[in-house]
């Protein structure tokens, strides 16, 4: 097999920045192999992807040195349009890539640019829509598709150019588990076709099947090798802000033999070496928090005014003071719709929502912000000020608080989110993780009793996900009621006390976390799966929710 991509001492610094985005990258990708690139936010993964199809240095200008050769073509000397025949690039934000009014025209765009005759375009539309499983949606509007479908459409629209190399930058980040599997199965089929595939991903489960894993840190590639070699070096993974495979971490902590990358492997090893005996799972009878109910939904139905479909039906939910609740479910299952009822952004079509027994309709908006805070998924949907200080103090000024008190509260909120001393920074120039924290601080400043966060960890790397969740745990300890909406199962498992599983606008499971994740069939019905550690825990019958707890339990037997 020949060499598909050869990178020789590549360095790149974006114009108007000082720190190099890529430093002395060397690497080779053989034809027909599958490479997974991992690393922390800002490690240079996206820049590396862009350097393969000439977006770097053609679209993004800067200081470029070294060479990238793709199938005997030097990338820096080619134009992006030329490279598009050789390297297909699926960008991180799939929403922004779709711009046609129908699925088929979206796929037709690339071949049209290649000046292909009409019947060839027709053939490619047909072929690649079938390939990604969207053949019966040709006339649909892309905006009406689910997240997984949109991402698959984005892939099909790039595949239609028939590039021998496909590069995907975090193709599964915003997707629920089922959407993720849909996309990964497309990746699988591409491998069977002997196409070269480069995927940037945070999840060690994706990397398990790769031929090569590249680890990046601060613009450098620090490790290259088969997954079994790279993914078992826990210290190195940690230093790159990458989540280590939990089964490997568990085996290493217990000193068990073997480095299982998957749950199945772990089970085989445990059986083989008789490391532990599976026993019936005994969930500790969780002390029912006897505190008063703070938020209550009584028999709530909600129908979106524009669509006839019911977004919520027959919801009964009581949230007690000081709880840490996670709402999980597929995209479109009604999680966000439910959460938006909790601070009155949406009004139920039928039924009622009560805050400490008071109907939400009786509460004014400015007062509401002090009772229930709501952090939206994307911090960029709310940041507008020139300084962090102004941004965080916004809701207080809206409530008419005097400037000195505002100052104090702002400092306090920033300290809680770990951004003390950032008052004079310009929020737009902060990293995504920091902007997320500014958004949380701006909601916290009003000192709401309940704080709701929509996907607080999406778009953050493992390190930032951890610190964001630790911060929420801290808030919870201080007495706030915390509600998160998430599609990250391990986040729900490790941090929430109680999990609500939603499907088609209904509550399918509402139980203490360990019990909720023990119900694998019910979760499967909602297209969810427990995180790997708890799948193993379900098999072993351990009741711990974190790595540490499981290690403790298995040690003492």
């Amino acid at each position: 097999m020949g060499v598909a991509i050869s990178i020789q001492d590549l360095s790149f610094t974006y114009a108007e920045t000082r720190r190099p985005a890529l430093q002395h990258i060397n690497g080779q990708v053989e034809e027909g192999t599958f490479v997974v690139i991992m690393g922390h936010e800002g490690a240079g993964k996206s820049t590396l992807c862009c350097s393969l199809n000439a977006l770097v240095p053609r679209f993004f200008r800067g200081e470029y040195s070294g060479r990238v050769i793709v199938h005997n073509v030097e990338v820096a000397k080619a134009r992006v349009a030329e490279m598009s025949r050789r390297v297909g690039l699926v960008l991180q934000d799939f929403e922004a890539q779709l711009f046609s009014t129908s699925v088929e025209l979206e796929v037709a765009f690339g071949p049209e640019n290649l000046c292909l005759p009409r019947d060839e375009i027709e053939r490619r539309i047909d072929r690649y829509l079938r390939f990604v499983g969207l053949a019966d949606m040709r006339r649909r509007e892309p905006a009406s598709l689910s997240g997984g479908q949109k991402q698959r459409l984005a892939i099909a629209s790039v595949l239609a150019l028939e590039p021998p190399i496909l590069v995907m930058d975090e193709p599964t980040t915003d997707l629920d588990p089922i959407g993720r599997e849909e996309v990964l199965s497309v990746a699988d089929m591409l491998r069977q076709e002997q196409r070269t595939l480069l995927v940037v991903d945070h999840d060690p489960e994706t990397a398990v099947d790769a031929d090569q894993v590249w680890l990046m840190r601060e613009g450098e590639v620090v490790a290259q090798g088969p997954p079994r070699q790279v993914l078992t070096d826990l210290a190195l993974l940690e230093s790159c802000g990458v989540q280590p495979p939990p089964t490997v971490a568990l085996f290493q902590a217990l000193g068990w033999p073997g480095q299982p990358l998957t749950v199945e492997e772990a089970i085989t090893l445990i059986r083989e070496h008789d490391l532990a005996r599976p026993r019936p799972l005994q969930c500790p009878s969780t002390p029912t928090n006897g505190r008063p109910v703070i938020l209550e939904l009584r028999d709530v139905d909600y129908v979106y005014p524009t669509r006839a479909v019911e977004a919520l039906s027959g919801i009964h939910l009581q949230i007690r003071e000081g709880e840490f609740l996670a709402i999980v479910g597929q995209n479109g299952s009604g999680k966000t719709t439910l959460a938006k009822h909790l601070n009155g952004l949406l009004k139920p079509t039928r039924g009622e929502v009560l805050f400490r027994g008071r109907p939400l309709g009786d509460i004014r908006r400015t007062e509401m912000a002090r009772l229930v805070g709501y952090v939206f998924q994307n911090p960029d949907h709310q940041i507008f000020s020139n300084t962090v200080r102004e941004e965080v103090g916004f809701s207080l000024r809206m409530a008419g608080m005097d400037p000195r008190a505002v100052e104090e509260r702002v400092a306090e909120a920033l300290a809680v989110v770990g951004l003390a001393g950032y008052e004079e920074e310009v929020p737009f120039t902060l990293t995504k993780g920091e902007r997320q924290r500014v958004a949380v601080a701006s909601v916290l400043a009003a000192q709401p009793q309940v704080i709701i966060l929509d996907e607080p960890t999406t778009g953050l790397d493992y390190r930032h996900q951890r610190s964001m969740m630790e911060m929420l745990r801290d808030l919870h300890r201080r007495g706030h009621t915390v509600i998160i909406i998430t599609h990250s199962m391990w986040v729900a498992a490790e941090y929430a006390e109680r999990v609500v599983v939603m499907k088609d606008g209904r509550i399918l499971v509402d139980a203490p976390t360990r019990m909720a994740f023990a119900q694998e069939p019910a979760l499967a019905e909602a297209s969810l799966r427990p995180p790997p550690l708890l799948r193993l825990g379900n098999w072993l019958g351990t009741s711990g929710l974190t790595l540490e707890a499981m290690v403790e339990e298995l040690r003492t037997g």
């Binding site: 199809n53 922004a96 009014t101 049209e112 640019n113 940041i383 507008f384 809206m398």
Partner: protein, 262 residues
């Protein structure tokens, strides 16, 4: 949220060549402009309603019912004061309403509604891409047509982001509904700045995606959509042109007018 009016049906309107649709709607606009007599205008409006039925565009008429009703009501109430006619009905100081001006006002109301109706029928049967394709076939350079259609395409995307931004700021206690005009204008900033930045990020990302798919505005390209002028197109255009000319002749003969003005 869907602000596009295209309805995915399969009537013979939908099957027309986009060039026919564009020229056709211009001819319809022309016909709407000819008369200012309410009875003649009522005929035109009825004709458009029937076209709407044939094109299965009624759901859009229903969606726009308030706007249509408002146009008719406002223009009927306001026009009489601005058009002067020979037979006075009522006067108060310099304000004067005549029989003709009242009739003219009703005709203007119908004209505006008909105008909107013609546009609605066009948008109900034409996708964004067809429209672009039609413009290109009529001689508009591709880069211009592409910019135009992309701009149209981004409207709903930005509207969606705007809705989220409003909710995010309301959750933080922004009260958009109270205060005087000046205060309200100030409250616009927390909404406008994030939207502006979103737009820049989004557009930049789109540009990257377009280039990655081999887009090059100056280079030759082919099209998947391949509209053809058929017999029905010729007939449709001939009928509309004939109707327009007939209407124009009638008006020049003095029919269909209550006041000698547009």
């Amino acid at each position: 949220m869907n602000i596009f009016l295209y309805l995915d049906e399969n009537t013979w309107f939908h099957r027309l060549d986009p060039r026919t649709k564009i020229i056709g709607v211009l001819l319809l606009f022309g016909i709407v402009m000819v008369f200012n007599h309410p009875l003649y205008m009522a005929g035109v409006a009825l004709g458009l309603l029937l076209l709407g039925v044939a094109a299965k565009a009624l759901p859009n008429f229903w969606r726009m019912r308030y706007i249509l009703a408002l146009l008719v009501v406002f223009s009927t109430v306001l026009w009489p004061f601005f058009a002067k006619g020979p037979t006075p009905l009522w006067s108060w100081g310099r304000l004067e309403v005549s029989r003709e001006s009242l009739m003219y006002a009703v005709a203007m109301g119908l004209r505006l509604a008909s105008f909107v109706a013609a546009g609605l029928i066009f948008l109900s049967v034409t996708t964004n891409e067809e429209f672009t394709q039609g413009l290109i076939r009529l001689g508009l350079p591709y880069p211009v047509a592409f910019a135009f259609s992309t701009a149209l395409r981004l409207v709903p995307t930005f509207a969606g982001a705007g809705a989220t931004i409003v909710q995010a700021q309301i959750s933080r206690g922004l009260d958009v509904e109270s205060g005087n005009l000046f205060q309200r204008a100030g409250k616009f900033i927390p909404l406008a700045v994030p939207l502006f930045i979103y737009a820049i990020r989004h557009t930049n990302m789109l540009a990257m995606a377009l280039e990655s798919k081999g887009f090059n505005p100056g280079a030759p390209r082919t099209w998947y959509l391949n509209p053809q002028m058929r017999r029905t197109d010729t007939i449709a255009l001939a009928v509309l042109a004939a109707l327009f000319l007939a209407a124009l002749l009638l008006r020049l003969q003095g029919y269909g007018q209550v006041l000698p003005r547009l």
